[in-house]
Each structure stands twice: as structure tokens, then as C-alpha cells.
């Protein structure tokens, strides 16, 4: 290996990739804000932003410019340094995670003057990349807590505290859900997990139905989104931990939230939905689906998850703090523990075991769903009200 090649492989290409990733992520987060507003508007029978550019697609650019221009207000009694540090602490891990997200397989391209280069749609393929994702994303919570505390505002403090408890609690079921995927693929590398779904001839959503639901619910909680958006609950804590932030520091919190949504969706895609693989990767009859490039498959899957995020936001009310904790500790964690045991037992049986588990899970779920919905149709939409004769002293208790 000569020096120029190692410079190329170990410095130049990663550097280019790093820059591209950061730019792309920032852009994607910006665009996502537009898409969210637009989608919410459609859910809510209105039109949404449609003025800047065709159909308003440059709305996010205008917003970013506006936020850059805004005065950066720091409360007089805030801890200035920490107040400044918090957005950085939130943003850096949010961006760093993208280094290991497997957007596509390896590919070879020819660059004039450099010859053939084999590289991949990811910045790095670590053998512990899944661990890295979990590790790095949990750093972000420090930024939120510190930002909430340093603002010297009671609302921000409450938001920061809620956030700390919430993020730490939901790390646990999320970790267990991820463990089950690791057990199925027998690897910690995201790239290998994706490839394992090719060798297993199925996406891990089949045996990992429960794992996926746990992962996604925890993921929604990790990203502070409705119905788990307590740290920034607008109607309760004004704006939660970023109440006292303005201008671009606030924008950093905001954009990182969207970047985190992309991260969670991308990891879910890689773990349970076959990453860049097309549906039924081993069925030859569906080979025409290969016309869509792998990276596009990945992006489509991520987009579907993001849509679900937005759909959730358009539909659900918000949990209360203690209910959120109860859900995390009393429901999700026991289920996730049981699920890990179940998946581990199935994984002992190798591919056959996983298939049996997947079949059983889906049949039970679908059967119960059909039966229960059939039975439910008879039920009136409202619980009956107690009819009381007029003028009676009190409804008969």
C-alpha cells in the first residue's frame, strides 16, 4: 500500500465524507422541518407553508436565515459558558452518529486522476458501530440538562429534569430492543446486521416485531417527540429546556431534534427493515426491484419512519411525566426483557428458530387483531351517559 493510497483511504475520503455528511444532515434536518409542517397541515385540512419557493419548499431556508439574523438573547443571570456549551453538546453527538449509519453498500467509482476507488455509502464501518450509536446519542442528554439548568429559569429547569429522567429511562428498553437485533445477526456492526438480513432471507421485523415496536416507541421518547415531548411541552413548560434560547442557538436544538429523528429512523431501518436491501432480498422473482438503487431503498424506509413520527405528532395527546416513567419502567422494560429471552431462545435454533418465532408472532398478532376488531364494531363510540330525570336531586350513584 503506497502512501498516496493510504492518504486517500484514511484521510481524504473520510474527510470528504465527513463534510458531506454534516452538510447533508443539516440540510436534511432543515428540509424535514418543512416536510413536517406541510404534512401536519395536510393532516389538519389546511395548507401549510407554501409561499417561499414553489409549494414553499424553501421555507426552511427563510427560517434558517431569519434565525441567524435574530438577536441571541442570554438571560442576565444565566451561566453564560454552560448556556453557550449546551447547544454544542447537543449538536455534536447528533451529527457524529451519522458517521456509522449505513446508508448503502460498498460501491466502486472512477475518479479521473485517482483511478478506481472502492468506497461505501457510510463514513465508517466499525465493528461496534451499534454500540457507538447508543453511546453517542446518550451524550446529547447532557446538553439538554445543562441547557435547562444554565438558563436560570424554572420552566427550563423542569424541562431539563424531565428530559434527564426520560432519556435515561428509555435508553434501557431501547438497548434491550437493540440487543435482540444483535442476537439475531450475531454482530454489532450495522453493516453486518444489514447483510445478515440478506443471509437470513428475511428482514428482522419478522422475528423482531416486538423488538421493533419497543425500539420505535423508545426512539420517539428519545427524540422528545409527541406523545413523549414532555421536556419541551409547550402547553405546560412554555418551551421546556430551550425556553431561554433564541436565535441560532435555539435553531441548533431544533435542528438536532430532527437530525435525531433521522438517526432513530435510520437505525430502525438498518436493524429491522433490511437497511438498503429491497423487500425479500433473496426472492429472485422480485429482482426488478433492484432497479431502485440501494441508497434509495434506505432513504425511502427512513422517510416512511419520519412520516410516522409526524403522523404521531398529528394524532396524539401528550403523556404526563409520571405516566411516561410508568410506561417506561413498568411496561416497556419488562416486555423488552422477556422479548430478549424469547429472541435469544429462538436465535439458539438458528435461522429456523427465528422463522418459527416470526411466524408465531405475526399469526398471533394478526389473528387477535381480526377477532378483536370484529367484536369491537358493535360498541358505540361514546360510553353511554347516565340519563337522569329532570330536577332529581342527584344521579343515582
Amino acid at each position: 500500500m503506497d502512501i498516496s493510497e493510504s492518504v486517500l483511504n484514511y484521510f481524504l475520503i473520510p474527510a470528504v465524507k465527513a463534510v458531506v455528511v454534516v452538510i447533508l444532515v443539516a440540510t436534511a434536518a432543515g428540509i424535514l422541518t418543512y416536510i413536517e409542517r406541510r404534512t401536519l397541515a395536510f393532516l389538519q385540512v389546511r395548507k401549510g407553508p407554501n409561499r417561499v419557493g414553489p409549494q414553499g419548499v424553501f421555507q426552511w431556508v427563510a427560517d434558517v436565515v431569519k434565525l441567524l439574523m435574530k438577536e441571541d438573547v442570554v438571560p442576565a443571570k444565566a451561566q453564560h459558558f454552560i448556556h453557550f456549551l449546551a447547544p454544542v453538546l447537543v449538536m455534536v453527538p447528533g451529527m457524529a452518529v451519522f458517521a456509522v449509519l449505513p446508508w448503502g453498500p460498498e460501491f466502486t467509482m472512477r475518479i479521473p486522476g485517482l483511478g478506481k476507488i472502492t468506497t461505501a455509502w457510510y463514513a465508517a464501518d466499525l465493528n461496534v458501530s451499534l454500540l457507538l450509536v447508543l453511546a453517542i446519542t446518550s451524550i446529547g442528554v447532557y446538553g439538554i440538562i445543562l441547557g435547562g439548568w444554565a438558563s436560570n429559569s424554572k420552566y427550563a429547569l423542569l424541562g431539563g429534569l424531565r428530559s434527564a429522567a426520560q432519556l435515561i429511562s428509555y435508553e434501557v428498553p431501547m438497548g434491550f430492543a437493540v440487543v435482540s437485533a444483535i442476537l439475531m445477526a450475531r454482530s454489532l456492526s450495522l453493516v453486518e446486521i444489514v447483510e445478515a438480513q440478506r443471509t437470513h432471507h428475511m428482514w428482522f421485523i419478522l422475528p423482531g416485531l416486538v423488538s421493533f415496536l419497543l425500539y420505535f416507541v423508545s426512539g420517539v421518547a428519545e427524540t422528545n417527540r409527541i406523545p413523549f415531548d414532555l421536556p419541551e411541552a409547550e402547553s405546560e413548560l412554555v418551551a421546556g429546556f430551550h425556553t431561554e434560547y433564541s436565535g441560532f442557538r435555539w435553531a441548533i436544538f431544533f435542528l438536532t431534534e430532527y437530525a435525531n429523528m433521522i438517526t432513530i429512523s435510520a437505525v430502525a431501518t438498518a436493524l429491522f427493515f433490511g437497511g438498503w436491501l429491497r423487500p425479500f432480498p433473496s426472492v429472485k422473482a422480485l429482482a426488478f426491484l433492484d432497479l431502485i438503487p440501494p441508497i434509495l431503498w434506505f432513504v425511502l424506509k427512513v422517510a416512511a419512519f419520519l412520516f410516522v413520527y409526524i403522523w404521531f405528532r398529528g394524532t396524539f395527546p401528550r403523556y404526563r411525566f409520571d405516566q411516561l416513567m410508568a410506561l417506561g419502567w413498568k411496561t416497556l422494560i419488562p416486555i423488552s426483557l422477556g422479548n430478549v429471552v424469547l429472541v435469544a431462545l429462538a436465535a439458539l435454533g438458528g435461522m429456523r428458530g427465528l422463522r418459527i418465532l416470526g411466524t408465531v408472532l405475526w399469526v398471533v398478532a394478526a389473528g387477535a387483531f381480526l377477532v378483536v376488531t370484529r367484536l369491537r364494531t358493535a360498541k358505540p363510540p361514546t360510553a353511554p351517559l347516565v340519563p337522569v330525570p329532570v330536577g332529581a336531586r342527584k344521579a343515582e350513584a
Partner: protein
């Protein structure tokens, strides 16, 4: 006597709690997204649990009752619009009722029906607004847009009828100012028939939703006895199990002729108040349909009784009330025989219902406080007057 008695800002420190931690004093409002206006609540919280809540009102005090005393009787009506500004028709109604009572006026039947129809439209619109804001307080943003879609139709109907959408000024002493526009009844009927399915939509979003249920069931319980002790009327009282509604208890206008039920629930919590209001919308729909039928069958007739040119009620006092969307809205009129009210007191349901807030919020969490404020359904224009 007129010196300052106590100050709002000075809350004595209650000392330490179990773990040696201090209770925190939290200023909830007056500029807070979910206080529905300019309500300020001084909270003492232990973590997120509310130790005590003290509402501080008056930020919107405009001296309306003083203003009433300077206006002649017809001129008071536009001012009543601005008490509960999301339910102007019922305000107008309560006011004209009390003047008519003191004058001993008979109201033509047709005017009574139109008034009742306007009242019930206003009730539906107010409940829709309540549902929108209560849902948004609990984090559900979408019902807001669905309910406003329907509310818009009602406001359009109001605009068709009297030219204003919110501050209607639509009733007059002795009856009404204006006849219905042609086609108005048909438009109203079309909307009303549609309303049931729209209410089903809101219910599908919220009634069975587990988060909505968790957030509302068992929150802010106020039993019948406590409701009566605090003077709480309207949906909170009915949600506690007492079927008491001014429309039936102290009937006015043509309500005795109309067929409707008073929905009640037993658990007296936020969820039951939600269900009662939803059911009230359905009952209002029933009344509206009956009103439409009657008005369509009697398309002409007097809409204003024999009113003297200058309204001068005899000296004396009277009280009249209507069931406003918030509760019993009453006006107490003292006349000295002149052409202006000597004293006109409003019995504002929001003000009196709000008084029960500390008891309802005690021991709950900050998030629940938002739900409880939402469920009382206050309008600060009426609280502060």
C-alpha cells in the same frame, strides 16, 4: 379599610420538605400558553407536584359593571358581548331576559325560538372552542383544526344573521332586531345534520385514546357537594352527577317545549366533563333540529314584542339567568326607574367556577393543572369583567 391588604408577590416560604428540599414557587402565567388568556396562578410545587395553587385574576378587568351604569338599556347589549367573548349570544340573552323580566314583557314565540337557536349555536361553538383548546393543552394539536372547521360554519351563520361573527349584539330587549335571512334555516339544518358525524370524528380521536384517558381520568375531581359548595355550575356540576341545568330547572323562553336531555356523568373528573360537553353538543344538535323545524313551519311572525320607545323599567330589582356554555350566567339588575341601570351585576360562571381550581389542582402535577384549567372552561373576559 382601603389600605393594601396583603400582596400577591409575597408568599411565605413554607420551609423544607421531607428530603430537605425546598418547595419551588412557580409563576404560572399571566403569559403562559395554556392559561387561556391572562390568568396567573402562583404555584407552590414539590418537584412537579402541586402543593398549593393560588389563582390571581384581574389582568383583564375593564370595569364593565361600572360602564353598564353609564349606558342606557339598549346600549348595554354590545358591552355584554365582551364578557364571555366566545359566547356572546348567551350573554345578550341573559341581559335582555332580566330587563324583560323587570319590564314584564311578553316575547313573541318566533323570537323565542330564534333566540334559542342562536343560544344553542353559541353553545356548540363554545364547546368546540373548548374542545380545541383543551386538547391542545394536553398536546393533541389536531382536534383544534377539526373543531375550528365546524366552528367556522357557525360563525358564518352568525355573520349571515347579524353581521358579526364573535361580538354579535344580536338580541334586543323585547325580542330581536332582525328577521332571519332567506335560506338561513336550510343552511343551519345542513350544518346541524352534519354535526353528529363531526362530533364522532373528535370522539374517535380522543374518547378511547389511552393517553387521553390517562391524562383525564381521575384528574381534578370535584364531587357534587363540593361543586355546590363552590357554586360551580355548568358541565362540571353535571359531570359530578347532578342533572341541573338552568334550561330545565328555571326554564326560560321556549325550552319547556323542546325535547332534550341533560347529560350527566358520575365520576366528576376531567374525562367526564369532556364526555358531558361532547354529549351536550349532541343535545344542542337535537334542539337545533327542533328549532329549525319550528322556524320552518312558522316562517313569519312578530320577532319583537311591544317595547316602549325609551326603556325604563320600574324601580326594583330582578335576576335572570341562562345556561351559558360555562354554567349559570345571571344578570342582577337594580333599577331606580331611570333609563340606565342603577346597578347591573353579572354572575359570571367562569369566575365562580375558577374558584374551585385550587381544590381541584391540589396534589396533582403541573401537567394536570393545564388539564384542569382547560376543563373548567374559563374565559378571562368573563372572569375579570
Amino acid at each position: 379599610m382601603s389600605e393594601i391588604v396583603g400582596t400577591v408577590g409575597a408568599v411565605e416560604d413554607s420551609g423544607d420538605t421531607m428530603l430537605g428540599l425546598r418547595e419551588m414557587e412557580l409563576n404560572f402565567g399571566p403569559q403562559h400558553p395554556s392559561t387561556h388568556g391572562v390568568l396567573r396562578i402562583v404555584l407552590k410545587v414539590d418537584g412537579e407536584r402541586i402543593v398549593s395553587a393560588r389563582p390571581d385574576i384581574g389582568y383583564l378587568h375593564r370595569g364593565t359593571e361600572k360602564l353598564f351604569e353609564t349606558e342606557t338599556y339598549p346600549m348595554v347589549i354590545p358591552h355584554t358581548d365582551r364578557l364571555d367573548y366566545v359566547a356572546a349570544a348567551t350573554n345578550n340573552h341573559a341581559y335582555v331576559l332580566v330587563v324583560e323580566k323587570l319590564l314584564g314583557l311578553e316575547i313573541p314565540k318566533r323570537a323565542q325560538y330564534i333566540r334559542v337557536v342562536l343560544d344553542e349555536m353559541q353553545r356548540v361553538s363554545s364547546h368546540l372552542l373548548w374542545l380545541a383548546t383543551a386538547a391542545i393543552d394536553l398536546g393533541a394539536i389536531t382536534p383544534f383544526f377539526y373543531t375550528f372547521r365546524e366552528r367556522e360554519v357557525i360563525l358564518d351563520l352568525f355573520e349571515d344573521y347579524c353581521g358579526a361573527r364573535l361580538t354579535l349584539n344580536c338580541m334586543r330587549v323585547g325580542g330581536l332586531e332582525e328577521e332571519l335571512t332567506p335560506g338561513w334555516i336550510e343552511k343551519l339544518r345542513a350544518f346541524t345534520e352534519d354535526l353528529g358525524s363531526k362530533v364522532d370524528e373528535y370522539e374517535e380521536l380522543l374518547t378511547e385514546n389511552r393517553i387521553w384517558k390517562q391524562r383525564t381520568i381521575g384528574v381534578g375531581i370535584l364531587t357534587t357537594d363540593r361543586c355546590i359548595a363552590w357554586g360551580v355550575t355548568g358541565p362540571p356540576l353535571r359531570a359530578s352527577g347532578l342533572a341541573w341545568d338552568v334550561r330545565r330547572a328555571l326554564p326560560y323562553e321556549c325550552y319547556p317545549e323542546l325535547d332534550f336531555e341533560i347529560p350527566t356523568r358520575k365520576n366528576a373528573d376531567t374525562y367526564d366533563r369532556y364526555l358531558v360537553r361532547i354529549a351536550e353538543m349532541r343535545q344542542s344538535r337535537r334542539i337545533l333540529l327542533q328549532g329549525c323545524d319550528w322556524l320552518a313551519a312558522n316562517p313569519t311572525g312578530e320577532i319583537r314584542g311591544k317595547v316602549p320607545r325609551v326603556i325604563k323599567p320600574p324601580a326594583g330589582d330582578a335576576y335572570a339567568s341562562v345556561e351559558s356554555p360555562k354554567g349559570e350566567l345571571g344578570f342582577y339588575l337594580v333599577s331606580n326607574g331611570g333609563n340606565k341601570p342603577y346597578r347591573l351585576r353579572v354572575r359570571p360562571p367562569s369566575f365562580i367556577n375558577l374558584q374551585a381550581l385550587p381544590e381541584m389542582a391540589q396534589g396533582h402535577m403541573v401537567s394536570d393543572l393545564v388539564a384542569i384549567i382547560g376543563t373548567i372552561d374559563i374565559v378571562l373576559g368573563e372572569v375579570d369583567r
